[in-house]
Symmetry: C2
DNA sequence: CGAACGCTTCGTTGTTGAGCGAAACATGAC
DNA sequence: GTCATGTTTCGCTCAACAACGAAGCGTTCG
């Protein structure tokens, strides 16, 4: 059997139906920054009763869009994986051609650096991925992208803690499509770990109510040392 | 005003609702190969009455997903633009992580070469775009990607008709994300024109009922002369 | 233990919208 | 003009499902 289309009309419709309700859309958008939130909080964000939100969460869970972590009487929800986050980011495409004939009309802060799921995206994310691949710090293999020891040494030299850096060597990342840059940035567990480390170290700060990430002056300097520059 | 999210919950829900009906999904999938079809034919494909299809087409049109060409008593529908096609191609992402843990499980023929909207996509499309950018045959500017005269000369030398090649110089293309390769291929009017020319010249043939494109032995040879190789 | 809490399930109501046939409206053929 | 064809609009029915309150279940705290 050679499927004529990789996606049947029914699968496509089912996927669309999951987005077709403002309450569900709000839940997905709220989780796009990689946060993990309990059902009650998502109900409040979506503006519906806990009972209604519970039904929505069940549908999203069954649809494979959400992941679940149960802890006592709490149920914490998150996006299922990087692909879901990248896919949601890509949902802006139809609007891009309608509402933004000039691509520059988009929010420049969000273009510069933001989270995609839990990892770094935007110009900075793409620059990091490409620079480190160029330098041979990242290597793509059949099991994903891994960080090489030479990179870990450089990170320690720039001020990272040695012990967590050793853990990075065991993690795997993968390419994730960046919808503003239309190139790859580093996703997967490795991408998440690197982004978390940069947040911890104060190289990046989270914008108050956005998915945007704000690089600090110190962070920009350190990143430049690591070959990551924002071309302007 | 700095919009917190580039897409509100209502916009996202509206977009999802457009896909949420199997009949509408079937219409969009049928138009993904770049064809232009009258309302009656789309009704037959979707398996609904002309009256029902008319309502669906109106919604898709109002939603900005379709374009319209009226001719006499016929109304021909097509996808609105390249972005819509690329976006639909990206709709497989959520399924990719569920149903295809190994990316190689996808149809290799479709991965090699296919149409995205009306232009060449897949390994061959990406290879062409990158090779020609490397050679300096394509140049990216503020108004898109254009073909340089040196490339036109090379095309004529490989057997293209001189007159249509001159027209290519006036067209503009743009990068379009390839969901199997996760890199850019050449879309826009320039991409469409080049693909059409290759089909006319017999370098590529359309697969009977798929969006797949089959490169002919002659076509592969000529493409290799132009620097476009399928790395295996 | 009992009370408070977080969440889900159940039962009900109301709205949305998909679907069709019939009729209307065009256009093109004769 | 008359008829056939392609498409849309109208009126209707029916199914799906979002939403809530109430009740139920399991967990945590005092």
């Amino acid at each position: 059997m050679t499927e004529a289309s990789p996606l049947s009309r029914y699968q496509l419709a089912e996927l669309g139906a999951l987005l077709a309700e403002p309450a569900r859309a709000a839940i997905l958008l709220a989780l796009m920054d990689g946060t993990t939130r309990p059902a009650g909080e998502l109900a409040r964000i979506a503006g519906v009763s806990p009972a209604t939100a519970s039904a929505h969460l069940k549908r999203l869970l069954d649809g494979g869009l959400l992941g679940l972590h149960e802890q006592g009487r709490h149920r914490y929800f998150r996006l299922a994986n990087d692909d879901i986050a990248a896919w949601l980011e890509g949902m802006v495409l139809p609007h891009a051609s309608r509402t933004a004939p000039a691509a520059a009309a988009r929010d420049p802060v969000l273009c510069r650096a933001r989270t995609c799921y839990r990892h770094l995206a935007g110009q900075l994310g793409v620059a990091l991925c490409e620079a480190w691949l160029d330098r041979g710090w990242l290597q793509t293999g059949s099991d994903g992208i891994c960080l090489l020891p030479v990179a870990a040494d450089a990170l320690v030299h720039t001020g990272w803690q040695a012990s967590p850096t050793q853990q990075l060597l065991r993690l795997r990342g993968r390419g994730c499509l960046d919808w503003t840059e239309r190139r790859l940035h580093l996703g997967g567990p490795l991408g998440v770990a690197i982004t978390d480390a940069m947040l911890d170290a104060g190289w990046l700060r989270r914008a108050p109510r956005q998915r945007a990430l704000l690089p600090t002056p110190d962070g920009l300097r350190r990143l430049a040392e690591l070959g990551v520059r924002l071309d302007t």
